[in-house]
């Protein structure tokens, strides 16, 4: 069973995404900010996919992507955000993001994208 690591400062978002992914057959871990997420990755968590918000307290999503990429070179990292500025998108891509999704994302669409990124999911 593939494992997805969700990072978002919104409890509602985490509940929504976690429910969607667990029903679809994924194992899910969560964190509520970038700093906590990085701590878990440094502690040994090795998910098959990371999905992170961009605008978060303590450590924003782009910083998390940059630091996570140093730990996990080949793990796909998706940004799931309301942010629509091209500059932020380019910065995320430059720091190692694998994709950019704008909220709200339909449950079926999200699962479809994940299955495209994770063959065998």
């Amino acid at each position: 069973m593939k494992q997805v690591f969700l990072v978002d400062d919104s409890t509602t978002m985490l509940m929504s995404l976690k429910g969607t992914l667990e029903i679809s057959g994924f194992k899910v871990e969560t964190a509520s900010d970038g700093q906590a997420a990085l701590g878990r990755l440094q502690a040994g968590l090795k998910p098959d996919l990371i999905i992170t918000d961009i605008n978060m307290p303590k450590m924003n999503g782009i910083e998390l992507i940059r630091e996570a990429r140093k730990l996990l070179r080949f793990t796909p990292i998706l940004a799931l955000t309301t942010e629509s500025q091209q500059g932020k998108r380019d910065e995320a891509k430059k720091n190692g993001a694998s994709g950019w999704l704008i909220k709200p994302v339909g449950g079926a669409d999200l699962v479809k994208v994940i299955k495209q990124i994770l063959p065998g999911a």
């Binding site: 978002d8 919104s10 509602t12 978002m13 509940m15 929504s16 995404l17 429910g19 969607t20 029903i23 679809s24 605008n55 955000t81 309301t82 942010e83 629509s84 500025q85 091209q86 500059g87 998108r89 891509k93 993001a97 694998s98 994709g99 950019w100 999704l101 704008i102 909220k103 709200p104 994302v105 339909g106 449950g107 079926a108 669409d109 999200l110 699962v111 994208v113 495209q116 990124i117």
Partner: protein
């Protein structure tokens, strides 16, 4: 929109203050003092005091800081900002309206999905109840048949048991007969032996008869007949032995055949009944299997539909996070407006300089905190008198990006 109606001019008497009244009173007292005691208050003293009082009245009305613009500039600033206020409130109203609309759409979508899930549940429940009822019916039929089959099997078993007992008894008796027949074999041998002895005796008698001469002629005939009888007896013994042997072998063969067939016999009527019941069971099974298959397909399809609806409903819940961000931005903007107009109030009261930013600039700076395309869109729509390109909040560079993009 502020209603700038013409204001009624204020009369002189309405502008007189207690300070003015005090000054006039002191002036009157000064004059009275001069007239009462000219040496105490001379004309130059009266004139000096009057001049000082008048200067105080004039300067006293100018109670603003020296660095303040004139009152006309303050009015201009206030008037301009109040004009912009309508636009600013329009922007915020658009954003709040969009937030409400987003909430309504998401909630309606969620309600529709839940209604669909509920309908699916009812439908599956109805099919399940139908399947239960049908299963009960099939089960009752099967039970009824099983009772009959059990009865038939029981009777058949009893009959078969009796048949087996009879068969066993028959074989036992036949074996006994075969044994008895075999027991006759030594008698046949005895007969043959007697025949051989008799034949020997007849030969001896013939010899003695020949020795006896003429007197032995009759005896010779008897001896011949005895020898003849002996021969026939031997032949009979041989045939009896052969017949007994053949009969015993036949019995053994039949016994062997009966043993190999075991209890093989059946009651045609009982088997027929059991066959009918088996056929009935097959018909029932032929009816149940496709029914259960169809039911399983229906259940799978229904559950799949419900699962998809639940997934989409969970996705709809994301509207709460979006609305939260939008309302936080509106809240921040309202705080800024509140602070700005507090400064304007102090400006009107002459106690503070104009705010550092005009309201127009403050409104433009709201876009620095925007993250969503919809915020720029409502901002542009709210500013009805300006085009998006002219106010620095251009959507250029913030054109609608694709919702999903893989790098």
């Amino acid at each position: 929109m502020l209603n700038h109606t013409a204001q009624k001019p204020v009369s002189l008497w309405q502008r007189v203050t207690w300070r003015d009244a005090g000054v006039v009173l002191i002036s009157m007292l000064t004059l009275l003092t001069h007239f009462w005691d000219p040496d105490l208050m001379k004309w130059d003293g009266v004139l000096a005091m009057a001049g000082g009082l008048m200067a105080g009245i004039v300067l006293g009305r100018m109670h603003v800081p020296l660095y303040m613009k004139p009152m006309d500039d303050a009015h201009q600033v206030v008037a301009q900002d109040i004009g912009t206020l309508h636009q600013a409130l329009g922007i915020l109203e658009s954003q709040v309206t969009m937030t409400i609309k987003t909430s309504e759409e998401a909630v309606l979508s969620m309600m529709q999905r839940m209604q669909r899930v509920h309908a699916q549940v009812l439908q599956l429940h109805a099919r399940t109840m139908e399947a239960v009822e049908h299963s009960r019916s099939l089960s009752a039929e099967s039970l009824e048949g099983s009772d009959q089959r059990r009865h038939a099997m029981s009777a058949f078993a009893e009959h078969q048991k009796a048949f087996d007992a009879t068969q066993t008894d028959n074989r036992r008796r036949v074996r006994a007969v075969a044994e008895q027949v075999r027991q006759i074999m030594p008698l046949a041998e005895l007969i043959a032996n007697i025949s051989r002895q008799t034949n020997l005796l007849s030969l001896n008698a013939s010899i003695e008869a020949a020795r006896a001469g003429q007197e032995g002629a009759g005896f010779k005939v008897v001896a011949a007949e005895v020898r003849n009888l002996s021969t026939q007896t031997a032949e009979a013994a041989r045939q009896i032995t052969q017949g007994i042997t053949k009969a015993a072998e036949q019995i053994d063969c039949e016994m062997a055949t009966a043993d190999s067939m075991g209890t093989g016999g059946s009651d045609t009527q009982q088997l027929g009944q059991i066959s009918d019941e088996v056929e009935r069971m097959q018909r029932t099974l032929a009816e149940v299997v496709p029914y259960l298959s169809e039911l399983s397909d229906t259940m799978d399809s229904g559950i799949k539909t419900m699962t998809n609806d639940v997934i989409e409903t969970l996705g709809d819940m994301q509207f709460q996070d979006i609305n939260r961000q939008m309302l936080e931005q509106v809240n921040t903007a309202l705080s800024g407006l509140s602070e700005h107009f507090a400064q304007l109030y102090q400006l009107i009261d002459g106690q503070a300089p104009p705010p550092p930013l005009e309201l127009k600039e403050l409104v433009n700076r709201w876009t620095e905190n925007y993250v969503m395309q919809s915020q720029w869109t409502t901002h542009s729509h709210g500013k009805q008198q300006q085009t998006p390109e002219s106010n620095g909040t251009s959507a250029a560079g913030n054109t609608a990006p694709p919702l999903i993009e893989l790098f």
